[in-house]
């Protein structure tokens, strides 16, 4: 199932389940990237005279927090961090996962056995426990967060790449190419990689969703991005304290996380259907 | 009394099936007599399965028009119109009056239940049998379909049986409630040649024993000639020829039938070899592109511009007086008759 970009795009945009996330995802990225520059308040600007403003209050579209910082600015700046963590950790884990997966999938043998068993077993462990332990013992910061999320994410990609490589490797035409004396490199770059790419792209999209979610957990619990810097998770850090009086401080950033994660997940699903329409529904 | 013997068991009239798009089965009409074995032949996609499933009420999301009339059971008069019959009543007929078996017996059986439990399940649904009587009936059924160790077989899962055994079990399930009509959709296609012959003999024997009529769907003209009393040829969703078997195999009237027969290996050879139905050159028009002329025209050697392409040739009876019914859909059948 090699991809033909125009037809994939057409199928993706032909259904609301593909079209909506296909517009949302670039929009939120652009918004977070340039939004903070366009807003009058810096995300760190403290204004103790205007604390706990409700949404739409006094020029603050989404209100202000407990020390009078503009929530919209903080949500957009937090989005930069959260999206960056999602995208960068996904990029690295996709690279690692694809490489390991291809190695394991290409030849049957000890390496495949070891890699698959180790991955299957590690994936059994409760992820959040691992993440928190790692986050707690390392120096907090964006690099650490990216590193540990990568550490728990690449295995999922490797699993997909491994399974796909095995399928492609067993195709008759690949067997024929090998039989005609093609070298490993040629088979790898000409046959395997282009054929497993669609599945990898889908897996990466879903992985971004997961990474954003994981970042929010770790930061919410206080082991991720440290205040005063914003991330979508740590905006909710002490929102629980003000839940009774100022619920939007919890509701707004959370809603943004949900919306964005849903959209990445929808995009992944829709991409899968668009790349391989026959699979739809299974 | 006399009506019973002359009126057909199943009478399908102008049956048309679509799934929201073009008509897949188009104006299908045929009759099945009591105890008659009819072979339904045609290339892949001609609508054999869809037509049968429509009669069985097993199609979902299908738009079904026309009529399929099932004669009342022996003793109980009153015919039943199957098209549009409420689901509950249709279910009461399935298994008891009309039943169906399919090509792949392994995927047709429940992989998690023993053979015994599956037979009992069907018997409980249709008969008041209980306890030892139920078991005895299950064993009798397995014996009837030629299973050597019926008691042992009861405790086995489908995966432990050979393909032929599985199809025998499937047949036992289908005839458990002694239906009057059995649709068999390519029941031997998945089997080895020798096993195929055994299953064909079994089905024919069952008919002789019980008087159950059968619609036998197949790609394979040799199989059709081995079992059928009558042959109905479907082409692109329509009946194109309907003839008694001995007439059909000796002098088919429709050019398509002739092409099929001449493309198939010699019959005598086929009887041993079971060659599949060889299609004549060209392709069947797909449901959307069937047009209003003779649907076989694009592949017919005898096509004539005016006659064949002007309109859809009707299905006409060509049986002489006193002969059994023989219909054909071809504008030039008279000229082409040998």
């Amino acid at each position: 199932m090699t991809m033909r970009l125009p037809s994939v795009l057409r199928r993706l945009l032909s259904h609301p389940r593909g079209m909506v996330p296909a517009f949302y995802v670039p929009a939120i990225i652009v918004l977070c990237a340039i939004g903070p520059w366009l807003l009058p308040f810096g995300e760190l600007h403290v204004d103790l005279y205007h604390r706990f403003l409700p949404p739409l209050g006094d020029g603050h579209l989404l209100g202000t927090d407990e020390i009078g910082r503009d929530v919209l600015s903080r949500v957009l700046m937090g989005g930069r961090v959260s999206l960056l963590v999602g995208v960068v950790s996904t990029a690295i884990s996709t690279l690692i996962g694809t490489t390991v997966g291809i190695v394991a999938g290409y030849h049957a043998g000890l390496s495949r056995f070891l890699i698959t068993t180790v991955i299957d077993t590690v994936l059994c462990f409760p992820v959040v426990f691992l993440l928190l332990t790692l986050a707690a013992v390392l120096h907090p910061g964006i690099g650490t967060i990216i590193g540990i999320i990568t550490l728990v994410s690449w295995m999922e990609v490797a699993r997909v790449a491994q399974a796909q490589t095995r399928i492609v490797r067993q195709q008759d035409y690949v067997t024929a190419v090998v039989a005609m004396g093609a070298g490993d490199a040629q088979v790898l770059f000409r046959e395997i990689l282009p054929n497993i790419l669609p599945a990898i792209i889908v897996s990466a999209t879903l992985n971004i969703a997961r990474a954003i979610l994981l970042e929010s957990y770790v930061s919410y619990l206080g082991y991720g991005i440290q205040p005063p810097d914003a991330s979508w998770g740590n905006l909710l850090n002490n929102a629980q304290e003000y839940l009774e009086s100022d619920p939007w401080l919890a509701i707004i950033p959370g809603a943004v996380i949900v919306l964005t994660v849903v959209m990445f997940n929808l995009l992944g699903d829709a991409l899968r259907d668009a790349i391989d329409p026959a699979r739809r529904g299974s | 009394m006399t009506r019973k013997t002359t009126s057909p068991l199943l009478s399908v009239r102008n049956l048309t099936v679509s799934f929201g798009g073009p008509d897949i089965v188009d104006d299908l009409s045929f009759e099945i007599g009591h105890g008659e074995i009819v072979a339904l032949v045609g290339e892949s996609g001609s609508g054999k399965s869809v037509g049968s499933l429509a009669v069985m009420g097993l199609l979902e999301n299908a738009d079904i028009r026309g009529s399929a009339c099932l004669a009342g059971a022996q003793g109980a008069g009153g015919d039943t119109e199957l098209v549009g019959l409420p689901a509950r009543q249709m279910r009461a007929l399935r298994g008891r009056r009309i039943s169906m078996i399919f090509q792949d017996p392994l995927s047709s059986l429940d992989p998690l239940q023993t053979i015994g439990s599956q037979i009992r399940e069907v018997l409980r649904a249709h008969t008041p049998l209980k306890g030892p009587a139920l078991r005895a009936r299950a064993i009798a059924l397995l014996e009837q379909v030629g299973i050597v160790d019926p008691e042992g077989c009861l405790t086995l899962l489908p995966q432990r049986l050979s393909g032929g055994m599985r199809q025998r079990v499937m047949i036992a399930l289908a005839i458990a409630a002694e239906p009057d009509l059995l649709f068999a959709d390519e029941p031997t296609t998945a089997l080895d040649v020798t096993v195929q012959a055994q299953v064909l003999r079994l089905l024919k024997g069952l008919r002789d024993q019980t008087g159950m009529a059968m619609v036998f769907i197949t790609h394979n003209l040799a199989v059709a000639s081995a079992i059928a009393d009558r042959v109905i040829v479907l082409y692109a969703g329509q009946v194109v020829e309907d003839a008694p078997a001995e007439v059909f195999f000796r002098r088919p009237a429709m050019p398509y039938s002739r092409a099929l027969l001449s493309a198939a290996p010699r019959l005598e050879a086929v009887m041993g070899g079971y060659g599949h139905l060889e299609a004549p050159r060209g392709q069947v028009p797909s449901p959307g592109q069937r047009g209003t002329a003779c649907r076989f025209a694009s592949r017919c050697d005898d096509v004539r511009e005016g006659v064949c392409l002007a309109a859809m040739p009707p299905l006409v009876s060509i049986a002489g007086p006193g002969e059994t019914n023989h219909t054909v859909r071809c504008a030039r059948w008279e000229e082409l008759a040998p």
Partner: protein, 319 residues
């Protein structure tokens, strides 16, 4: 054939054990290299001297080389001595066990909710394949899958406690109220939170498995034989789709534990998850390691158990 399968499960179990060992080494080393000395809590105590500190360090085994500390710890794990908490010197295993009940109760309630909803949604989607209801259930499943557990908890607290006053905001019970009803009212929101976010684990697999069975000829054949649709759904579809769900239970537990950690924090639920977080904050390494090991053992045991149960329950594997 059956014994071969069981051997396979056991061999996987052995591998898991080996991995458990590796994980424990990695975790142990990591925690001990971490910044923040467990002794730091004592240094500020009034009248603390260097000798006294050394004494405490010695008492806690902190002056030994790392590998000896590890072996000592591992030996303890296997003999039931899981060390003592840095915080209050209580035995780690005892602390864990005393927090277990709360997590198990929460987990079981959440399991009941998520299993029922998940199986129902998956079944519905499969039966209405390709139609609106299939789309709806799959979108709902994606949304639930995308919800940060803590946020859902906060929203529930806001809506059901702060606004509607239907349920208390958290904790296992109100002061002075020891009634069952009181307990259940406290359990409701955390269980609902944890239950809802883990629905997709069940619904997605159920949708797939049920969809596969519906595609098989056996459903059409059962209908052709005149079996009732109720019987077909229960005996063929449900039975056939639930069987491969047994191993999913093994996958489910880690999801549940991760979710429990967050849920317990939001709702002040005194279970293993909160214990873990508290201990992490206090750098109470013995307890942190203890909880990590405990949950890892739990997950491995449950997945092995699930595989064994699956082998016992599937007649094709038993034969």
């Amino acid at each position: 054939m059956g014994s071969g399968n069981i051997l396979y499960v056991l061999r996987l179990g052995g591998l898991k054990l080996l991995l458990l060992l590796l994980v424990s080494i990695a975790g142990f080393v990591l925690l001990h290299l971490a910044p923040g000395d467990p002794l730091s809590q004592f240094t500020l105590a009034p009248g603390m001297t260097a000798e006294r500190l050394a004494q405490i360090a010695h008492g806690m085994g902190l002056d030994q080389p790392l590998w000896r500390q590890y072996l000592h710890w591992l030996y303890g794990i296997m003999t039931g001595d899981w060390g003592r908490s840095f915080r209050d010197q209580a035995p780690v295993l005892g602390i864990i066990v005393s927090h277990l009940a709360a997590t198990v109760e929460l987990g079981l309630a959440a399991l009941a909710i998520s299993f029922t909803l998940g199986v129902g949604m998956g079944l519905l989607g499969a039966l209405r394949s390709g139609r609106v209801l299939d789309d709806v259930t799959s979108v709902v499943s994606i949304v639930l899958f995308s919800l940060p557990t803590f946020w859902l908890g906060l929203v529930f607290i806001y809506v059901f406690s702060v606004r509607l006053h239907w349920f208390p905001t958290g904790n296992v019970s109100s002061p002075g109220d020891r009634s069952v009803v009181g307990y259940l009212r406290h359990l409701a929101l955390p269980a609902l939170t944890l239950g809802l976010v883990s629905v997709p684990v069940w619904s997605r697999y159920m949708r797939t498995f049920a969809g596969e069975i519906l595609k098989q000829d056996q459903i059409r054949t059962a209908r052709a034989l005149g079996l009732s649709s109720g019987r077909i759904i229960v005996h063929r579809l449900l039975r056939g789709a639930l069987l491969p769900m047994i191993p999913v239970a093994g996958i489910y537990l880690p999801t549940l534990l991760s979710g429990a950690l967050v849920t317990e924090t939001v709702f002040s639920w005194p279970g293993i998850g909160r214990l873990f977080l508290d201990s992490l904050q206090y750098r109470d390494y013995p307890v942190v390691m203890g909880v990590l090991m405990f949950s890892a053992i739990l997950v491995l045991l449950s997945s092995t158990l699930a595989e064994l149960v699956h082998h016992a329950a599937d007649p094709r594997l038993r034969a």
